[in-house]
Amino acid sequence: MKARVFVMLKNGVLDPQGEAVRHALGTLGFDSVQGVRQGKVIELELDEVDAALAEAQVGEMCEKLLANTVIESYRVEMI
């Protein structure tokens, strides 16, 4: 079973990298871009067969290591 974790800076936390990308897109002429937020995607391969258990485990991984919940939010997708 695989899981995909999306980690993003929380809304309201300044994202300097996203800002830099937005600026660069504007320079390239993509004037419609109003905002860019940059995050990361983490893919996990698990030997757990129970989807609910696996999702719970990945949630715990996010809380303990994969995301810093002071500034980041996360979303788990089982695949």
């Binding site: 936390v13 300044l14 300097p16 990298q17 303990k64 290591l65 002071v70 500034i71």
Partner: protein, 233 residues
């Protein structure tokens, strides 16, 4: 006084810290300072450690997030126990990032607002004298220390910032904020005032021939730490 300096793969200020502690010990208290270097896989600290210092550098290559892997390594559990029993801890630069990742200090360090790795000497204002770390400075004293980081942009939410201010837990502020840190915060104390995290490097300002001497007062104050002081301070 016995200082334990944690060493992770990628730490690069561990020996600078050792020199700063030992110089302060040689110059001051008769007992001097004993320094132990502690590898990240060690699960226990030597008996009698007064302060654990978490050095600057790029532990584990800054993978995932700065300090995140180090905060979950075996020695960090020993660090948590040391702090839980009232021990002192000092985290500088990457060490500050480790201390926030362990939850021993509030907040988090984000990418610098201008996206740049910033390496220069900056002026700090001492914001409180009420901690052993800052006891030999005076409030409002301006000191010069180097910064060298890419992720020094301190973040706390508005409620936590208000709490830090109310509890006088901001140790140092930037005179000219170099990275976007909330409240110009350069260093912050734990609730019991025995854990300090700061992005600037006092250990790189501890020798007249190398970057100035404004950091010496911190190591001099720490060199006086002893078991007796720990019990009462």
């Amino acid at each position: 006084m016995h200082a334990a300096i944690l060493v992770f793969p990628g730490s690069n200020c561990d020996r600078d810290l050792k020199v700063a502690f030992e110089a302060a010990g040689a110059a001051g208290a008769a007992e001097g300072v004993k320094v132990s270097m502690i590898w990240h896989k060690d699960q226990e600290l030597p008996h009698g450690v007064d302060i654990v210092a978490v050095p600057g550098g790029f532990s584990f290559g800054d993978y995932l997030r700065c300090g995140a892997i180090a905060a979950n390594s075996p020695v960090s559990e020993a660090l948590r126990k040391h702090v839980a029993r009232g021990g002192y801890a000092l985290g500088i630069c990457n060490g500050f990032q480790v201390l926030t990742e362990t939850g021993l200090l509030p907040g988090a360090l984000r990418r610098n607002a201008d996206q740049k790795f910033t390496c220069k000497t900056v002026a700090l204002d001492v914001a409180t004298q009420n901690s052993v770390f800052t006891s030999e400075y005076s409030v409002g004293q301006r000191i010069n220390t180097p910064i060298a980081n890419h992720d020094g942009n301190y973040f706390v939410d508005a409620d936590t910032l208000a709490q830090l201010r109310a509890e006088d837990r901001i140790a140092f502020t930037y005179v000219d904020n170099p990275n976007g840190s909330v409240g110009d915060i350069a260093g912050v104390l734990s609730a019991n005032r025995r854990v300090l995290g700061m992005m600037p490097h006092p250990e790189r300002a501890a020798d007249a021939a190398l970057g100035g001497t404004d950091g010496v007062a911190m190591f001099r104050a720490l060199s006086g730490l002893a078991a007796g002081i720990m019990a009462t301070a």
